[in-house]
């Protein structure tokens, strides 16, 4: 269960805070959680996340966990995936879900939105070729729908195809049937998600209070 180590001195936190925008308290809480998950190791592995009990019922947990180990999300212009991440990476990925400060300019807002959508895009674009191909998208949709029981793979495929066609018709207009829509590029992705209020959908509250004790964590 929860492990309450003595906190490291504030200095590393301050750097992290500047980098990720979290407050020191939030970082401290997240660090606690990190240690709890990694069983007091310096690094976190996929297994550590996969054993979170609440996550088991999440249909796209694989993609989400993968996102934590994806170098593209570490804001270092690197690609590929890693086997284990340190606290800094953990925090960087978490910061995608941080609510923005209240007084930011429109440009910053737009920048933030872009970053968040990029995160989402990367999650779908598993092979990092800059497009979400039909195959990739189908995979996501199948996963998404896999929990809802009766919907079979065929249906999921159909829904993915229909969604893809929808994207195609919106981003490139009507096409001749022999044309082939190679996949959703990031630009198209931005375009189709234009109407979505990212604020309500990509943000969670990071409290300043430690609640990790309430969460069950069964280590395998």
């Amino acid at each position: 269960m929860g492990s309450f180590q003595s906190l490291p001195d504030d200095h590393p936190y301050r750097t992290l805070s500047q980098k990720t925008g979290f407050s020191l308290e939030q970082i401290a809480i997240l660090h606690n959680r990190f240690k709890q998950l990694s069983q007091n190791e310096e690094t976190l592995r996929r297994d550590d996340l996969q054993t979170i009990q609440d996550l088991e019922s999440n249909p796209i947990r694989y993609e989400i966990i993968e996102a934590f180990f994806d170098k593209r999300n570490f804001q270092k212009d690197d690609v590929g995936s890693v086997d284990e991440i340190g606290f800094e990476e953990f925090l960087t990925v978490m910061s995608y879900f941080r609510a923005p400060a209240h007084n930011i300019t429109e440009e910053q807002k737009e920048e933030m939105r872009r970053a968040k959508l990029r995160f989402l895009f990367n999650m779908h674009d598993t092979d990092n070729d800059g497009t979400i191909t039909l195959e990739e998208y189908r995979h996501v949709v199948e996963e998404l729908l896999s929990r809802s029981g009766a919907l079979g793979r065929e249906t999921a495929k159909g829904i993915a195809d229909a969604a893809m066609l929808e994207v195609a018709s919106i981003s490139v207009g009507p096409m001749a049937p022999d044309e082939f829509y190679e996949g959703i590029t990031f630009e198209h992705f931005l375009k189709i998600l234009k109407g979505i209020e990212i604020e309500t959908r990509m943000h969670i509250h990071f409290l300043n209070m430690d609640t990790t004790v309430f969460c069950k964590h069964h280590s395998a």
Binding site: R33, L37, L49, D54, S57, N58, P59, I60, R61, I64, F68, M94, F97, A99, H102, L120, M123, V140, V141, L144, L145, S148, G149, A150, L151, E154, T155, G158, I159, D161, A162, A163, L165, E166, V167, A168, S169, I170, P174, M175, P177, D178, I192, L193, K194, G195, I196, E197, E199, T200, R201, M202, H203, I204, H205, F206, T211, T212, F214, C215
Partner: protein
């Protein structure tokens, strides 16, 4: 009825003189007097057997009611049909009120008194429930519950705030002597404050549906107005009790009891509503065999929840609200799709109708000298306080809420929220219910309430749209996207929940997910049919709807181009099909069929989504628009299907049944078709044996004319096929029937039966079939397949088919019994994904 009057000789003259003015005057004579008079006259004049009598008093009440409903309908019609310039500026509700002024003026002019006005029982028992039920039944639940905290804060504390501040401020001003001499105490002021406090859902929906604000703002205003109605009624009752108790006898205990009663009444009402929702959901689980009336249960049980709450002196409005909100999901899943449509339409009809009545009568009621008492101070101050405290309250509570909200409510939204504080008929109804003995200034309160209502509904209603435009309020995002958006939303939900899990936080998403799981596992299990449970995935529903839409568009596209066999460029499928067809058609048939239809789905979906423009915002609670488009679609679909699909015997034999719509699926009919076909087949076989050979071709020119006359394509193509078939078939031997019968059956089993949905097989892709006379010898695919049919039969059937626009009734019969279920395959897109609703 007046015409029949003339037949009755002895009383004709009298009655005509008597009744016509009555009708002219808006049916507004003093009714009792007429009745007595009438009775008297009848007895007096009864000298012989009357053939027809005029009995106004027999039908008087329902007649008056229905006349007024009719007038309200006409009023609505005339308001809607007004020139666009007027309706774009004035909200409909305001126009209806003003029309009410006119009508009220007419009635008053005829009677010198207002005979018709909105009385509280009528309003609360017959007009209000369906509006509330409609609003709650169509409530976007997810949005509502995710903003429930804010809505409750506004509805409960906001309303109390409004009531208290308005009441106290008015009392303060009264004590300061601004209003002159009035017989009102503090408690009466508070009572008045509580009745004027609530924002009215009817008025709010009517105005806000015309300005499409963003969904969060909409749900806040709308949810608040819905719930605070309940709160205000409760508050009103508490203060009413206080007033009757009298000032001196109120002590701390009584006040505590008042607060306690407030809580019990409000939450008890909500709880009762939930209980009724559960009952209703359970009930609809087992109404499969009385499909035709199952839609009625929604209304009956909803109304029952309202009345029961009223009986138990719990909050009736909250009760029916929660009944509607909680039952919608399960009821919609359990009931037949048609019943759901029925409920939707009936709900809109009732709600829209009573809304019209309410506004009209709010106008009519005003034209009455009796109720108007003018007190400048009281009225103007009330207007001012209502307006000011609404703004202060909104900003105050929003400021508190924003401390906790992830996405703060913006200042602009707050302005619109406070400006959208429209008062309406509920306030008037409560004011009219005041007891004149206890509250001597009742009429002043009524007239003030009316003025507040007119002021807010008409003036604020008119200025709302410009204000929203001027402030650049974030509007509802209008998008063509549906499926992908929903998919992404679903992904977002899961991601957020997962991230919360990972960072070990019990947050909103954790609760939401926990509830969803509980709901899925237990509540749905209890309240939903097992079959419905499976098909209820939200995404799948969207997918299904989109597919239906596309199918409709596909057909209409075909019709627009004059033929369902309109040339499309997906030749690949055709070629492929032909190739395989030739070799091993019997075996691969079904697979190809499915493939082709899948393929078409893809193409269609893609080309059509760009055409489809949904003008309805995603959150569409408004009583009005919601179904307009759907209705259009339904009509279109009906029209098209009637034109294109297999026309069964229902055209020839009208059958009435109170409990069934589905004449097409009638088994007798299938049987009959089968028998007829067998008979004709036997006959043809007989004639073939006798050596009666078909004489010659049917003249092409005649046919061509026919074809050009008919607008829809499949008739044409069948006609063409017929030529082919006839041409090729001439001289063939009849004995082929037996050898090929089985094969035909099989191919038809794959669902080629319905040519409408398989246009490509009928004709080569590029030119319409009727333009290909030169190729008449080269048989089309279909003709090739049909070669083995006997010539006689073909020839005889040909003209008949053309005349009935149907290729199918006879062919059907060959396979009708075994193949009913396969028959649908090609026409539905991706059949295997389609749920079976039955």
């Amino acid at each position: 009825m007046p015409s029949s009057v003339y037949l009755c000789l002895s009383r004709a003259v009298f009655l005509v003189c008597f009744v016509n003015p009555l009708i002219m005057q808006g049916l507004s004579e003093d009714v009792n007097e007429i009745q007595d008079h009438h009775h008297h006259q009848q007895k007096e004049n009864l000298t012989g057997l009357p053939i027809v009598t005029f009995r106004w008093h027999h039908v008087q009440t329902p007649y008056l009611v229905i006349i007024w409903v009719f007038v309200a309908g006409l009023a609505k019609l005339s308001v809607v049909e007004l020139s666009h310039h007027v309706t774009s500026v004035f909200p409909e509700s305001g126009l209806l009120i003003m029309l009410g002024f006119v009508l009220g003026g007419i009635v008053w002019g005829a009677d010198m008194a207002q005979t018709f006005k909105l009385i509280p029982p009528t309003f609360f028992y017959y007009l209000l429930p369906q509006i509330i039920l409609d609003a709650s039944y169509f409530m976007p639940n997810k949005l509502f519950f995710s903003n429930l905290g804010a809505i409750l804060i506004y509805a409960i504390f906001g309303t109390c705030w409004n009531a208290a501040t308005v009441g106290l401020s008015l009392w303060g001003c009264y004590e300061a002597g601004v209003m002159g001499d009035l017989d009102i105490g503090l408690l009466q002021f508070l009572l008045f404050g509580s009745l004027i406090a609530a924002v009215d859902p009817v008025a709010v929906i009517a105005v806000f549906e015309e300005v499409h604000v963003n969904e969060v703002l909409f749900i806040l205003v709308f949810g608040e107005s819905l719930l605070n109605d309940g709160v205000t009624v409760v508050l009103y009752n508490v203060f009413d009790a206080f007033v009757s108790l009298g000032g001196p006898r109120i002590d701390a205990a009584e006040i505590f009891k008042g607060i306690f009663s407030f809580v019990v009444v409000a939450f008890g009402g909500s709880f009762l509503g939930i209980v009724f929702a559960i009952l209703l959901s359970l009930l609809t689980r087992c109404t499969k065999h009385i499909q035709i009336i199952e839609a009625g249960f929604i209304f009956v049980v909803g109304y029952l929840s309202y009345l029961t709450a009223e009986m138990l002196s719990l909050s009736a409005i909250l009760s029916i609200t929660f009944c509607g909100i909680c039952c919608q999901k399960y009821v919609n899943a359990n009931m037949d799709e048609k019943s759901v449509t029925t409920v939707r339409h009936a709900m809109k009809l009732l709600a829209n109708g009573s809304e019209t009545m309410i506004f009209l009568f709010l106008g009519i009621t005003a034209i009455d000298t009796e109720i108007w008492v003018w007190n400048t101070g009281f009225i103007l101050l009330t207007l001012l306080f209502v307006f000011i405290y609404r703004i202060i309250g909104t900003f105050l509570f929003t400021w508190m809420l924003n401390k906790f909200r992830l996405v703060p409510i913006e200042v602009i939204d707050q302005v619109v929220m406070s400006y959208g504080g429209l008062r309406g008929a509920v306030a008037y109804g409560l004011a009219a219910m005041l007891d004149e003995d206890k509250i001597p200034e009742k009429n002043l309160m009524i007239s003030t309430t009316l003025i507040v209502v007119y002021f807010t509904v008409i003036l604020q209603g008119i200025t709302m749209k410009p204000l929203v435009q001027w402030l650049k309020v974030k509007r509802a995002a209008h998008s063509d996207l549906k499926l992908i958006e929903k998919l992404n939303n679903r992904a977002f939900d899961h991601i957020l929940a997962a991230v919360e899990d990972i960072c070990g936080r019990i947050g909103d998403n954790w609760w939401t997910r926990g509830w969803n799981r509980f709901e899925e596992n237990y509540i749905s299990w209890l309240l939903m049919k097992s079959k419905a449970r499976k098909n209820r995935d939200y995404l799948f529903n969207i997918f299904h709807k989109l597919n239906l839409e596309d199918a409709i568009n596909y057909v209409s596209e075909g019709e627009r181009q004059g033929s369902l066999a309109f040339s499309r460029s997906d030749e690949a499928a055709n070629v492929d099909f032909k190739k395989q067809f030739g070799s091993e058609f019997a075996d691969v048939m079904p697979n190809i069929m499915v493939d082709v239809s899948n393929y078409e789905l893809g193409i269609e979906h893609f080309s059509v989504t760009s055409i489809v423009k949904d003008t309805i915002p995603s959150v569409s609670l408004d009583i009005h628009g919601q179904d307009r488009k759907n209705a259009m679609d339904d009509i279109n679909a009906h029209h098209l299907l009637q034109q294109h699909l297999y026309r069964s015997r229902k055209n020839h034999r009208h059958k009435y049944s109170r409990s069934h719509f589905s004449i097409n699926q009638n088994e007798d009919e299938v049987q009959e078709i089968f028998q007829r076909t067998m008979r004709s087949r036997l006959e043809s076989f007989k004639s073939a044996k006798m050596g009666v050979n078909p004489a010659k071709k049917i003249t092409k020119h005649h046919k061509k004319e026919l074809m050009h006359k008919m607008s829809n394509g499949h008739t044409d193509s069948t006609g063409h096929l017929y030529e082919d078939e006839v041409d090729r078939a001439v001289g063939r031997e009849a004995g082929a029937i037996n050898s090929t019968f089985m094969r035909d059956m099989y191919t038809m089993g794959a669902g080629i039966e319905n040519p409408v949905f398989l246009p490509d097989m009928d004709s080569p892709a590029h030119s319409p079939p009727w333009l290909m006379e030169t190729e008449a010898v080269a048989p089309s695919q279909r003709a090739q397949r049909r070669l083995p049919w006997t010539p006689n039969r073909l020839r005889r059937l040909a003209p008949m088919r053309i005349s009935t626009c149907s290729t199918d009734s006879f062919l059907m019969a060959d396979v009708s019994l075994t193949l009913e279920e396969h028959d649908e395959q090609p026409q539905t897109d991706s059949e295997e994904m389609r749920p079976v609703f039955d």
